[in-house]
Each structure stands twice: as C-alpha cells, then as structure tokens.
C-alpha cells in the first residue's frame, strides 16, 4: 500500500448516482477528464427540472407580469407569484408578501442597508458584523457608515475559524449597536454559526439582525428566519436556480416602514409630478420588470429539492467532507483552514510551497474545478494571516471518487512544489 491509499475510499451510494443523472453538465469532460465540479460554493449546477421549467416558460409562457389582461401575461404573473409562495414556505415566512425578489444576496443586503438601516443610523452608531463576512456583507454597510457617520465593528473570529461568541455578546452590550449582520455559514471556511443563539443575543439587545444564508441554504439550513432573524438573504444560483435571482425575506411590519430602494414601474400606486405614492411591499421593492424566468426557475429548484431524499443526501455531503478531512492527514504540508466542529461541506486548505492559484491550474488540467484566492473574504484572510486558500466545496452530487481524484492531484502537486 502506498501512502496515497491508506484510507480506503467508501462507495458512493446509489442514491447519489441517481441524482447525478439529473445534472446534464456532470457528463462533461474537461481537458479529457470527466468534470469533477468542486466549486459549488461559488455557484452550484442546474438540474434538468430547472432547465426544462425555464425553457418551457421561455418557449410557451413568456410575457410581462402585473401589466396585462391578456392570457399570457396572467399566466406569467401567476407563475411568478407561485414562485414567491414557494420561497415563503421554503423559508418559513409568515406571509408571501415577506418575500422580495432581488438580483441576488448582494442586492438584497444593499436594499436592507439603504432602505432599512441608513435612515435609522446616527453619527457614532455601530453596525456589528463578524470577521468572517463575505464582501457582500461588508461593503454595503461601510457605504452607509460613510454616509451617516456610523462605524462598522467586526466581532472576532478564532484561529479555528469560529466566531468568538463571548466577544460578540460583549460588543452587543457595550457598543451603541443599531444594526447587526452575520453570516449563517461561511463560504470560505465552512463554519456554521449558532444562528439561534446569535439571533437571541440580538433580540435581547434590541438590535435588528440580518442573516446571510447564501451558503446555508444549499446545505439545507433554512431555519434562520424561523429562528427570529429580522431579515434573511440568499442567491438562487447557489441553490440550483439561475443566476440573477435572489431573495430578501423580512418581517412585513418592518418592510412597510421602509422607503423604496429603487424607483420605476410596478412599484407605484400612482405617479404625478405633484407627487408619487408607492405600493405596499413586496411590489414597492421590485421596481421595473423583474427576472421572471429566474424566479420561476427558483420555484422549480425548490420543487426539485422537495422531490429528493434530502436527509440522506445531506448526510452524504457531510461524509464527503469527513473523508476529505481524514485524507488531509496524508499530506504533511496540507493545512485545513476552518476546523469548527459544525461545518458545511467546504474544504479550504493551503499546501506548503504551492500557491492556491497554481493548485487550481494543476487540478483544472485533471478536470477538477476548485476555487483559489480570498473567496471575497479579504478581512478574514488578513485575520488568519494568509493571502488565500484553495477551496473544494461539495454538493450532494459529488462522489468519493472525485475526492480521491482531488487527492491524487494534490499528491502530485506536493511532489512538484515540495
């Protein structure tokens, strides 16, 4: 036995082999090798169910919504609103009108920052974030801090990549915090934050809280809104839907107090040059013609998830992460970043002597897609004292064999760069 095969690779369950058939792209070859797509945290692939639903809409169902009395316009409107209802149920919203369609998590956060937080902030107030936020959950807050004189404060993260809960609590008590925004699951390290606890701490302190569930939802963690978060946001393309569609979900009573984010058609009650009155949420926040096919695709993605044996599939994902974590011990120069006990299936690492970009180029020629760099988390990388990592992020359609291929590649890279 060589050092490379000390751990025997488990068999991939038949259930997973069946699910793989739902994803046409997984049959692709890259540089002459079967594609091993391990960049799911950046964007996940689409199942046929979503592709054909969007295709059917484009072929037979397309018209503008909320605007026409004709048949097609009505059916498009119904399909769009049906998708909203599915998302509401998916997140445990109290009513459908709590769901606002956006371009993605990024736009949803900007909407909350500009329409909710900005008018409520005064000079010296604090916006509390964590060191493990994605740039999408940092920059919008910095922009309104600059505009209002508020300060952005980041709760620290430990060497293991866990949020320092105690410091988070202290900051909430001791700083004049008026808004809090935290990630549920970290895209760069995989850490799952104790969202129930975080929401409770914010509630006790009387601080509104937005939870970024962009990386939680793809792994079945959809409970942040039901746990009491004031706002949750996610992107469709990370959960089997098309790009360009995302969701903001917020308490209806709060949404009603917020001014529009953008102006245009579909969000007004009546327009005159003497003054314009706005519609109630969610229409107030959906100015202009929305991404109709994207919303319908997101609805189809939720239907697809509903059709699966999710507990078994999420257990498989976790098994992939455990297996990769075990095998990491074979390579003395490999260091895993993010070793929290609770993690989504994200395997972030560095390899001594080899820069993450070189690792990604090498793996790519083996048909293995991984991401390299700072993963839009530069402050976190600075905190950990590294320039970046290479990241394999798993979905439930990945196999143990793909993890084996990843390690075969890493052994080779270690030999060349070591």
């Amino acid at each position: 036995m060589t050092a490379q095969s000390l751990t025997e690779s488990p068999a991939t369950p038949p259930l997973v082999e069946r699910v793989r058939q739902d994803f046409p792209i997984l049959e692709k070859t890259v540089h002459g090798h079967p594609l091993a797509y391990l960049d799911n945290a950046a964007s996940i692939q689409r199942p046929l169910a979503v592709i054909s639903r969007v295709d059917a809409y484009e072929r037979e169902g397309h018209a503008n919504i909320h605007r026409g009395v004709h048949t097609l316009s009505q059916s498009a409107t119904e399909a769009y609103e049906a998708a909203r209802a599915k998302v509401a149920r998916f997140l445990g919203a109290q009513r459908e009108e709590e769901i606002i369609f956006t371009r993605g998590a990024t736009e949803a956060i900007n909407l909350v920052a500009q329409s909710f937080a900005r008018p409520r902030l005064r000079e010296g107030d604090v916006i509390l974030l964590t060191e493990m936020e994605h740039h999408a959950n940092i920059v919008p807050w910095q922009m309104i801090a600059a505009a209002t004189g508020a300060r952005v404060v980041a709760a620290p993260v430990t060497e293991e990549g866990e949020l320092d809960l105690e410091r988070f609590g202290t900051l909430l008590r001791e700083e004049p915090v008026k808004m809090c925004a935290v990630v549920h699951a970290s895209n760069s390290l995989g850490t799952i934050n104790p969202v129930q606890k975080l929401v409770e701490l914010c509630k006790t302190a009387g601080v509104p809280v937005l939870v970024d569930i962009a990386q939680a939802v793809p792994h079945g963690l959809t409970g942040a809104y039901a746990a009491g978060a004031d706002f949750v946001v996610f992107s469709g393309h990370k959960v089997f839907a098309p790009t360009g569609i995302g969701v903001l979900c917020g308490r209806y009573g709060t949404l009603e107090t917020m001014p529009p984010y953008q102006g245009g058609g579909d969000m007004i009650e009546r327009v005159s040059f003497a003054g314009t009155t706005f519609k109630a949420p969610p229409a107030r926040f959906e100015a202009g013609t929305p991404h109709i096919s994207g919303a319908i695709g997101l609805g189809a993605a939720i239907d697809y998830l509903d059709s699966l044996d999710l507990p078994a599939l999420y257990a498989h994902e976790s098994a992939l992460l455990r297996y990769a974590t075990q095998r990491a011990a074979e390579l003395p120069g490999l260091r895993i970043w993010g070793t929290a006990p609770e993690k989504v299936a994200v395997f972030s690492f560095t390899l001594e002597g080899a820069h993450p970009h070189d690792i990604a180029t090498f793996l790519d020629t083996d048909g293995i897609a991984v991401r390299a760099g700072h993963h839009c988390c530069q402050p976190l990388m600075q905190r950990l004292g590294i320039a970046g990592t290479a990241r394999a992020s798993f979905a439930f359609y990945n196999t143990f064999e793909e993890v084996d291929r990843l390690f075969r590649g890493l052994h080779r890279i270690a030999r060349i760069f070591g």
Binding site: H357, D358, T361, Q378
Partner: protein, 155 residues
C-alpha cells in the same frame, strides 16, 4: 502530467519560484511600486535604485503564485544595468507579447534565456495576468506611482 501543464511549470519557472532571484526589499530604492491583481489578491512590490538614468539595483517582494514570482525574478535579472528608457521599452514590448500569447504560443525570437519560458501562459489565458503583473508594476514604479491595480478584465 498534461503536456501543456508541463510546459507552463517547466524546470525554469519552478526554479525561479522556489529560489527566486533578488527577492528582498531594497532599502536604497529610489523608486518603488506595489502592484495588485484584484482577482486573486496577489501582490508584488518592485524596488528600483536608479542612478544617472541607469537601473543600479532591482528587487521584488510579494505574496504570489509561481508564475508571478518567476516573472518578477526574471524581471530583476533582465533589467539590471539598463537605462530607464531601455527598461520601459523592454517592458512595453514584453507586455504586448505576453498579452498576445494566447494567439501566438511561441516565445518571440528576440528573447533569449529564461523569459522565453513565461510564454507557456498562452495555453492558460486565465494566468496571463500572473505573468504581466510584475511588468505592469515596474512601469508604475518608473512612472513614480506607488500603487497599481490590475483592472479585473486586464491581461
């Protein structure tokens, strides 16, 4: 190993990556610039000591991939002793050639030595900016700009 990959990470590049030449700060530098590739966050800093119009010292430092480190290491060797005018012209020609490397995979005839190895990036167009970053930073240093940011779509 795939032949194109072998081409890119041939001995020459790996040697410069593992033991780069002139990889240190230059305390007596008269010019310096820090270049950054926003896509990956890689950074390279070029230090120049220019006396009487000639480059008398050139070093680099940075957190970067093998391609960028090798390119920077080669840069320091290629430019020592050149006049600033010669260095600018050399950098401009090389940048033009590297940016077109995905069209013409052969290294240009006028080049000799290790620099020829850089042209293997032509087969990995996503990595062309890794090779150009040190040279863009050099131009900024010569122009007296302390910081340069590669534009995300730049090569």
């Amino acid at each position: 190993m795939n032949a194109q990959l072998a081409d890119l990470y041939q001995e020459i590049i790996l040697r410069h990556h593992k033991s780069p030449h002139n990889c240190r700060a230059l305390p007596e530098a008269s010019h310096r610039s820090q270049g950054r590739n926003p896509v990956c966050g890689d950074e390279v800093e070029i230090y120049l000591n220019i006396e009487g119009g000639h480059i008398r010292g050139v070093t680099f430092q940075g957190q970067a991939c093998a391609i960028t480190r090798a390119s920077a290491s080669m840069l320091t060797e290629a430019l020592l002793g050149k006049t600033t005018g010669e260095a600018t012209a050399f950098a401009e020609t090389l940048l033009k050639e590297l940016r077109a490397a995905d069209q013409t995979p052969e290294a240009p005839a006028h080049l000799n030595g290790d620099l020829r190895a850089l042209f293997a990036v032509g087969r990995f167009p996503a990595r062309i900016p890794c090779a150009t970053l040190p040279w863009i930073t050099l131009k900024a240093a010569l122009a007296g700009q302390p910081r340069t940011l590669l534009s995300p779509s730049a090569k």
